[in-house]
């Protein structure tokens, strides 16, 4: 009896983490895209443009229809997962690493380091993201790697501000002072004492940022600054497909749905983690 209850409770708890499961599923789809996709995502067929879901030609079935160049929407959605997820993951890692390092140093060392770093944060926060995006594309050329750079360049100040605020709040705590008094160097204090204590809120920020990055990549595509065609990303598909909502709804709807689920699960996960961390304190 009690075993059954605990089993049910456990499975209910596991289920309540469904965003994590969904996220995992999408990541798996991204990893195994070449094996899952029924067709070459970039293969055009100008004779099979804008065909409905289920359209068949020469033995191939377009389960989710075809796009404006006769490419298979299903295959592009599956391959798009790779681009959208890896852009988001890498830009979060890059901006997070830079931002957290800057924020911790500023909050821990104070003094002129704090002044210089935090004013640098202000400078970056006050340049319009779109300007940074265009400049990066102009200087480095367009493409996958540079989209990540653009996102990292525009987002690291957010992490820096959070890490800075959190570091300020615990830098004066006894255990930090004690460790410093015992001769620990700055890197050691930051790494061993500060980072673990501020990791919770940062992780929550990172999860929410992940969702935002997926949306930002889509926005960059809308403005013509995203990954290069014909590479499939959900953002690129969505920004082209929105012109076809009345005539070929499937082009935007399926990548849109996928993108929505990805961002939603990331946001849900961030929210759940925030709750758990909040309770722990």
């Amino acid at each position: 009896m009690s075993a059954a209850v605990s089993l049910r409770a456990r499975s209910a708890r596991a289920l309540s983490w469904w965003p994590a499961w969904l996220l995992g599923l999408l990541v798996l789809a991204a990893i195994f895209a070449p094996w899952l996709a029924p067709m070459d995502p970039d293969r055009q067929n100008l004779l099979a443009r804008l065909k409905d879901p289920g359209f068949e030609t020469r033995g191939a079935t377009y389960w989710l229809g075809s796009d404006e160049l006769g490419r298979d929407v299903l295959s592009r959605v599956i391959h798009g997962a790779r681009v959208s997820i890896s852009v988001a993951v890498l830009s979060v890692l890059l901006s997070g690493a830079v931002g957290v390092a800057v924020g911790m140093l500023a909050g821990y060392l104070r003094g002129w380091v704090e002044t210089v770093l935090m004013r640098l944060v202000d400078i970056f926060l006050s340049i319009p993201a779109i300007l940074l995006a265009i400049i990066t594309v102009a200087v480095l050329g367009p493409g996958f790697v540079n989209v990540i750079l653009v996102l990292a360049l525009t987002r690291w100040p957010r992490y820096a501000r959070v890490a800075y605020g959190q570091t300020l709040a615990i830098a004066d705590r006894p255990f930090v002072r004690l460790s410093r008094a015992m001769g620990a160097g700055t890197p050691r204090v930051l790494w061993q004492h500060i980072l673990p204590n501020i990791a919770g809120p940062l992780l929550v920020v990172a999860t929410l940022e992940f969702g935002l990055m997926v949306l930002f990549e889509a926005g960059l595509s809308f403005l013509g600054l995203g990954v290069q065609p014909p590479m499939a990303s959900w953002g690129a598909m969505l920004s082209v497909g929105r012109n076809y909502i009345a005539t070929a709804w499937w082009i935007a709807t399926f990548p849109g749905l996928a993108l929505f689920l990805l961002v939603l699960s990331a946001n849900m996960l961030g929210d759940r983690m925030g709750d758990v961390i909040g309770k722990g304190r």
Partner: protein
């Protein structure tokens, strides 16, 4: 409520037989005009608006023939002197008469390098304009210049007394012209409103007011048309126009233009420095599939850098063959050079469907092309890099000189002295110069035919199709699109 009012208005009109149903018109452009001073910027969003405020020296009718507007007659006094007779009885919107002085002033204003007109290049063959006896103006050109009249189609006449009094900035903000519509209001970033000029000398406009709005997103422009908040929208493609098909209240209008789409190849570096590989690239491209299968708004496959809308079009140039198997064989025989990674430079303004289709066609036969899409300034800086070897291997263009003369596209793209050109061919240079400076039409036609044939034989540039322009309109709006993409309000009407 609204249908009822509409019905009542309709009844009132039939019963009272009012002279005209002068409904206002709302036109959605992609952006706001850069300038309403017709001697400044020359881009569609600007000239769609200011060409209704101003009259030009001459104009083209809907069939493309040059017909009188402010000039009623023109005669060559010598090879380099054109005498224009100015129309009597034309007044500016402030009531002052338009005179030969105004015409000469307008010409001298736009060719003054100090003034800094972006259109200078279209008029810099004119040396000066002088007023002559009997309301005439004499234009002197630097040499014989056959495209002069075609350029004067774009030269608007401004009132000397106002421009000199208020200056450049103020004139731009409140322009005064002699056209069928007068300037009413400019709500910056939003719209420009024009009002009908009741004392216009020519054909009256059918609308009391015309509002030109800036709506950057194509999907939103279509939505405005569907919702009835816009009467005419620009900048559609065939897939966008498809949305209008199911709605009887709206329609799509299109016509082939004088815009020629082409693929530029960098002749200074591999793989396209090799003429055989250029031939392979050409064989790989299915112009018909692109023009008709993909675009399908009236685009016509072209094998020369001009179109039937141009003077200098050569109808006998053979179409390009499409033979991907042969292309693949050529590429296979030169596989090392053909596999050189090549960049296809493009910008968001170009139709990405076409660029992607071209990329796939070329890669299918064995080339190694990747697309590089950047913003327009970056694209232009790369495509016009002073060192030709630094330019991208491929680029896509859709050019119009708005002069409907083969010179406008062929000279800048092919003459070795032009900054766009990637060609150095003495024979081509001589032909282009001959055609540019002869007033004998037969000499010019013969020269252009040879130019087109050389381009065709050596695959120097790959013309693809004559572009079409597509508008969306209310079903009851009568509007005939033209090859030079003009939008004259007084040539429109309501069909009610």
């Amino acid at each position: 409520m609204r249908p009822l009012t509409g019905l009542l208005t309709g009844v009132a009109i039939t019963v009272l037989a009012l002279p005209a149903f002068a409904r206002d018109v709302t036109i959605d452009l992609t952006g706001e005009p850069s300038s309403l001073d017709p001697h400044m910027q020359w881009n569609p969003d600007s000239y769609y608006v200011y060409r209704n405020i101003f009259d030009n020296v001459v104009t083209r009718d809907n069939d493309g023939a040059i017909v009188p507007q402010i000039a009623t007659e023109w005669n060559y006094a010598s090879e380099t002197e054109l005498v224009l007779t100015i129309r009597d009885g034309v007044t500016f919107h402030d009531g002052e008469p338009l005179t030969a002085e105004d015409v000469a002033f307008s010409v001298n204003r736009i060719i003054d390098p100090e003034f800094g007109s972006p259109q200078l290049g279209q008029f810099n063959q004119i040396e000066m304009a002088e007023v002559m006896e009997g309301n005439k103006v004499k234009l002197t050109t630097k040499g014989p210049y056959p495209a002069l009249l075609a350029q004067l189609v774009k030269l608007s006449v401004v009132p000397q007394h106002i421009v000199e009094e208020v200056g450049k900035d103020a004139f731009n903000e409140a322009p005064v012209g002699s056209g069928p519509y007068s300037f009413e209001d400019w709500n910056r970033g939003v719209s420009v409103t024009l009002a009908k000029n009741d004392s216009y000398w020519g054909e009256d406009g059918p609308f009391d007011n015309a509002v030109f709005r800036a709506v950057p997103d194509a999907a939103t422009r279509i939505a405005n048309l569907q919702a009835g908040t816009a009467d005419l929208v620009v900048g559609l493609d065939s897939d966008g126009a498809m949305q209008l098909a199911g709605n009887p209240a709206v329609k799509a209008l299109s016509t082939p233009t004088e815009r020629v789409a082409f693929m530029g190849m960098n002749l200074d570096k591999p793989p396209f420095s090799d003429p055989e590989l250029r031939r392979a690239a050409s064989l790989a491209i299915d112009s018909v599939a692109i023009a008709e299968g993909l675009l399908g708004a009236g685009e016509v496959p072209m094998a020369q850098l001009s179109s039937p809308a141009h003077f200098g079009y050569a109808p006998d140039i053979a179409p390009f063959e499409y033979d991907p198997e042969q292309a693949a064989e050529i590429v296979a025989s030169k596989s090392e050079m053909a596999a050189t990674p090549a960049t296809f430079a493009t910008a968001p303004v170009f139709d990405q469907r076409v660029v992607q289709a071209l990329q796939q066609m070329l890669n299918d036969v064995g080339f190694n092309i990747s697309i590089s899409m950047t913003d327009m300034p970056t694209y232009l800086a790369a495509a016009r890099a002073p060192d030709r070897a630094e330019r991208p291997e491929l680029n896509f263009g859709r050019w119009s000189c708005a002069c409907q003369d083969a010179d406008g596209i062929a000279y800048p793209l092919l003459h070795s002295g032009s900054s766009w050109s990637r060609v150095s061919n003495a024979e081509l240079d001589a032909l282009l110069e001959e055609a540019r400076t002869s007033l004998d039409e037969n000499v010019r036609l013969a020269a252009y035919e040879k130019v087109h044939q050389i381009v065709r034989d050596d695959y120097l540039v790959r013309p693809i199709y004559q572009a079409a322009v597509l508008y969306g309109a209310r079903a009851e709006l009568e509007f005939e699109p033209t090859a030079n993409e003009s939008m004259f309000l007084n040539r429109m009407s309501w069909s009610e």
